[in-house]
Assembly symmetry: C2
């Protein structure tokens, strides 16, 4: 099975899936023919998130980060349940009418998602992509709905500052000083209801639609510092954005906004520089969710991180920007740093991964005659 | 959005994804119109697995459980890489010709899969479903290939006795005595190459095909003992098997074999009893992968467990039974126990999950005139 170097890597002599042009574009990107709709989104957050710029946009702000539960892990589980139930309600659905929950979080064995799924009691696909979980879940949910395998799916993620610090770095109670490259794990959860697109999209016809997904590869640039995850994730973000744009044969300005998950003030300039080296100037369209969750005076180091970083910014803010035409085309690129305490102790690098989901608001195509 | 109790829970007034009968059957089951093929499978294992009944069927047996690496975690990563590369090679593909790797393992942050994906360098969807990972991965891969989102996908999982013992129970070096309900985590990895079905299935036309998937719900029966995971997983296995058979409106004998992942000698009788309570007699067709990996004299307690339990039994043995017509219809039901050290220490129950994948050999349909 010889494949010529330099050619499209996937061109082989084996028959392809379809004789008609299928949903695949270029080397790594999927096109969704039916354009599944995001019928509704919900975002919930802790006290610090409530005090940040997203505060008034969140569906629920908890008074403390324990939510009256016995442990932070149970609090994180509760947040995920709340986000899923609120999102379903906003979409006019009972949770039991949802065919599939695709969810993940940062905890060992994704126990927040697993225990939330126990409560929610619908078919559950657990995923782990570190902080890239939102766009991984969205991509799987979009495949499921576009293919008709689910009529409605919910993509949901959560993270919690105190569970993450204990698991990945030091328990919060130790009050270990954090270097300025460190980010602040968002305490919160977000959920998005994906419903059928196409001519049968019904009530959800005027909602933002998912047009493409580019699932990322694991990229390792040799970073080892668990207090500098922005640098670890930046190469993966740049790789996925570059491949997505190449597959679609569009310039960065095709999008009104290219929004990464949690590169923050350290990682975002690195990603932009890596893209510039590929001849892609994203300076006019790129931003990072990690810079939108907290005010500078909230003293969070380089910015926000965690699965909930992109989930809160997208579900509470950018989703509405798409709905209301403030932006028409979005590339959402949640970014994950792949480490565990064990891998860090064993001296492993921290590779990154990023998955991109392209979306359009109901007004897209009208503004440029497309 | 009122849904009548007792009716099909998913019948609502909202428009469905398609006006034509879609890929959904009943409440929880997906039917794959193109019937994606399993073009090839590969299974690798450690020394104990080599001495067991599967020994001669494995593609590679390692001389020790470190594989010459510096840590068990690196050894586990190597096994997964080997299984994926061997499976691709058997399917006549280079790994780079595969559009998507769907993989998971038991480790915190699934680092074995993530680091294997770094080496394999193709788009990666990381999943966590504990020991249910194989059929979760197969289900996602089958959706991706059936929908045309990937021309070829690889579903792969691994587990390692020593990494799992350290993480979930006690480090192997402590030599803690294990109760008889305890199972032995399989050291090994398995990978399956999924390619297009339908009229364009080409060379893979005569290979086993994936016909249905039933993604499971999280089921909790109050088990708290991390040395008795068979009991924790049995209710989930019974729930998924029951729902699958109800959705397809078939009796257990529709299948030549209903094969659970790692219920072992404690869990399998519980699952059979729970199914009998629902009026389903599976005694003639049910078996468990956990009882097929080791000889009784290998002293493994209640049997095998781990992601690699169902992966080794399926890829090394049952896949060939399907290919060669020794069985024609299989329901593979990998089973997972959802716990972490944190959740166990916090007194949480251990809920279970099970996903079912239905497959047919090339001879199915001929023997009964279907």
């Amino acid at each position: 099975m010889a494949v010529q170097e330099g050619s499209q890597a996937t061109v082989t002599t084996r028959p392809t899936a379809k004789t008609q042009p299928g949903p695949r574009i270029g080397r790594q990107t999927i096109s969704f023919a039916s354009q599944p709709r995001i019928a509704a989104g919900a975002a919930v957050g802790g006290p610090m998130e409530g005090e940040g710029p997203l505060g008034r946009l969140l569906d629920r702000v908890y008074r403390d980060s324990l939510l009256g539960e016995k442990s932070w892990e149970l609090a994180e589980t509760r947040m995920l349940c709340d986000a899923v139930e609120l999102a379903a309600e906003k979409a006019g659905l009972a949770v039991k009418d949802v065919d599939m929950l695709v969810a993940g979080d940062l905890l060992n064995e994704i126990i927040a998602s697993s225990f939330a799924a126990r409560h929610l009691d619908i078919p559950f696909l657990g995923i782990f992509g570190a902080c890239s979980a939102l766009t991984e879940a969205l991509g799987i949910a979009a495949m499921a709905v576009d293919g008709g395998y689910a009529r409605r799916a919910i993509a949901a993620v959560c993270s919690h500052h105190d569970t993450a610090e204990r698991q990945y770095r030091f328990p919060t109670e130790l009050a270990v000083q954090r270097p300025p490259t460190a980010q602040w794990t968002v305490t919160g959860a977000g959920a998005l209801v994906i419903t059928a697109g196409g001519p049968h999209g019904g009530d959800d016809h005027a909602q933002p639609r998912i047009t493409h997904a580019t699932f990322g590869r694991v990229v390792d640039m040799g970073i080892k510092n668990p207090f500098d995850l922005g640098s670890a994730m930046a190469p993966a973000a740049a790789d996925t954005i570059h491949r997505h744009l190449a597959d679609l044969q569009v310039e960065p300005e095709h999008y009104d906004l290219i929004l990464t998950g949690d590169l923050s003030s350290v990682g975002m300039p690195i990603a932009m520089e890596l893209l510039a080296e590929e001849g892609l100037d994203v300076s006019g369209v790129m931003d990072d969710c990690g810079l939108r969750v907290y005010h500078q005076e909230q003293n969070v180091g380089a910015g926000a991180s965690g699965c909930a970083s992109s989930a809160l910014v997208f579900a509470a803010q950018v989703f509405h920007d798409l709905q209301q035409g403030r932006i028409n085309r979005l590339l959402l690129v949640s970014t994950g740093a792949l480490l565990s305490k064990t891998s860090a102790h064993q001296g492993e690098n921290i590779p990154g991964i990023a998955h991109a989901i392209a979306m359009e608001g109901p007004g897209a195509g009208k503004e440029r005659g497309r």
